[in-house]
């Protein structure tokens, strides 16, 4: 067991360091912070709302992650395949699961760092008013799981191909489906021809609905279970894809 953890940690450490030895990490961090800042304060009308909360900030996360998470994650396996290092990695005395978890966790930690760097917005709202910091914390937790779900999906599409562009496009499409499934303009449109039960079933797959609770400060185990099962399923699929390459 400890050797499994050792292997996961070794893989994760290398992966995380590789982000910071290339410009990828810095470009991502800058764009992520600029984009969330811009959307929150201008398009989100943060000040005009007059609310001591971060709804204007978190509401954009499903959309910001839609592009940025696949952009960081697309190389996870596609690049290993293209460069041939996959052969090196999978002939080491480690299991494919250890490699998958190591790489996934490294990338998730990186996204957590990016998310943590948005702390000025928390300070701002605390200076201006008296927000419920429990709600803000729940929002951050939800945002982290949302990013994890997108990342696991990107991990899966990245294992399908040696081409990073294909991995990117596939994961954006899948993540977009997971947003739109519960997006009210889409569900309203669907109600015209589908039964409400079907619409509800499809909407249950939506990340937006499950993220909503967190934004309101409610950490519901069903929402947590939803995100964890998306992550679990996508990583399981990654394992199947890597073994049947």
């Amino acid at each position: 067991m400890s050797s499994a953890l050792h292997a996961i940690r070794t893989i994760a450490k290398r992966e995380l360091l590789s982000y910071f030895t290339s410009p990828v990490a810095y470009v991502f961090l800058v764009i992520f912070l600029l984009l969330t800042g811009f959307l929150t304060f201008t398009a989100g009308a943060f000040f005009e709302r007059g609310e001591a909360g971060l709804n204007a900030f978190f509401a954009w996360h499903p959309w910001v992650y839609l592009v940025l998470v696949p952009a960081v994650g697309m190389r996870l396996w596609a690049e290993e395949r293209r460069a041939g290092t996959l052969e090196l990695l999978l002939t080491m005395p480690i299991t494919a699961w250890q490699a998958i978890l190591g790489k996934f966790l490294a990338c998730w930690v990186f996204l957590a760092i990016a998310l943590a760097l948005t702390f000025p917005v928390v300070i701002t709202v605390n200076v201006l008013g008296e927000p419920d910091n429990g709600t803000i914390f729940a929002g951050y937790l939800g945002s982290l799981f949302l990013a994890g779900a997108y990342l696991a999906i990107t991990c899966m599409t990245s294992a399908m191909t040696r081409n990073q562009v294909i991995a990117f496009i596939l994961s954006v499409v899948i993540c977009l489906f997971l947003i739109l499934a519960g997006f009210s303009p889409v569900t309203d449109l669907m109600l015209r021809w589908a039964s409400p039960a079907l619409v509800d079933t499809v909407a249950a797959f939506s990340v937006v609905a499950h993220f909503d609770g967190f934004q309101k400060g409610v950490v519901d185990t069903r929402d947590l279970f939803f995100f964890l099962s998306v992550i679990g399923f996508a990583l399981f699929a990654t394992n199947v894809l890597l073994r049947n390459r």
């Binding site: 050792h6 070794t10 590789s18 041939g84 002939t91 080491m92 005395p93």
Partner: protein
């Protein structure tokens, strides 16, 4: 044979790998003992890399069994992989890492920590002559250095079994020479399998060679045995003033080559018989011998005869 009481380090039984309808490897069986260096020869696309990928557990066989050190690669992959050092065909590595970082990473994945890891990295660096580029990032290195970095990774845990897919590919003649010496030295205590299509390497480094073509083994023997399969093996080549084909014809079939003659023995008798007969004949006839040698046979001739070139196969 040494260690015949123990199972061989590498044992392959009836290995098959099918990609769709094409059988890339089609019923290959062989065994490699400790202390052997097995040269794996064959034209491009013959199934060399596919076989090696099955030995190292990178791709599962369609049928058949591979065991390394007594561990079945499909059933106990981790135990088998611990014993193996593997250099894949394109010698891949992570370009953004330094040589030292990459080798430390490999050592860590092999479960080496602390001082043991430092020593392992240092030994591999010395063996592969990498100390001058130790802290350079891999993407700045020349092809030869990149190749040796990946080779060092394969040696990092001093493995019992080495699987090297074209270890001298892309190296200059000096580096090739060093790597061959290294393989020969490692082969004294380990089981080594390496693939190549440079035939002189078989002579330089192997104790045994297997020629594979279209997924099947077509020859298996020591380099001398393989060369003996050549048409010219055992023939006597001579260059002498006054020599004549008619007189030599009494000893065997004669071929005239640019002032020299090649005499083929009528039957494969004891080595040297024909050469002595030629010397006696030259003495009786008063020819002035300038050069005389018994041919060992040529591997490339054997290779061409028993494998089909891929230029033909594509049609």
């Amino acid at each position: 044979m040494a260690g015949s009481l123990n199972p061989p380090m590498i044992k392959i039984e009836n290995l098959v790998k099918a990609f769709g309808a094409k059988r890339a490897v089609d019923g290959v069986s062989f065994a490699v003992e400790r202390g052997e260096v097995l040269g794996f020869l064959g034209p491009n696309g013959a199934g060399k890399s596919t076989t090696m990928r099955m030995i190292t557990g990178f791709i599962p066989p369609s049928s058949g069994r591979v065991s390394v050190g007594g561990h079945d690669v499909s059933e106990a992959p981790l135990q088998a992989k611990r014993l193996i050092g593997y250099l894949p065909e394109a010698a891949p590595s992570y370009p953004d890492m330094t040589v030292h970082g990459f080798l430390s990473f490999a050592a860590e994945l092999r479960g080496l920590d602390g001082d043991a890891r430092k020593r392992a990295v240092q030994r591999a660096v010395e063996r592969c002559f990498l100390s001058s580029v130790l802290h350079q990032s891999i993407d700045t290195l020349s092809k030869g250095y990149k190749h040796r970095t990946c080779l060092a990774q394969a040696l990092i845990h001093d493995p019992e079994v080495l699987i090297l897919d074209e270890p001298t590919d892309g190296l200059d003649p000096n580096q090739k020479h060093e790597v061959r010496n290294l393989i020969r030295e490692l082969g004294r205590t380990k089981a080594v399998v390496f693939s190549t299509h440079i035939l002189e390497e078989v002579d330089a480094a192997c104790t045994r060679a297997i020629i594979i073509d279209r997924g099947r083994i077509v020859a298996n023997g020591t380099p001398a045995e393989l060369k003996a399969m050549s048409a010219t093996a055992g023939a006597v080549m001579l260059h002498a003033q006054g020599a004549s084909a008619e007189k030599l014809a009494a000893l065997g079939k004669v071929e005239a080559l640019d002032g020299a003659f090649r005499v083929y023995p009528r039957d494969k008798g004891a080595a040297g018989d024909l050469a002595r007969a030629v010397v006696e004949l030259a003495g009786r006839e008063g020819w002035k011998l300038e050069m005389l040698r018994t041919e060992e046979g040529q591997l490339d001739e054997v290779f061409r005869r028993i494998t089909l070139p891929d230029t033909v196969r594509k049609k």
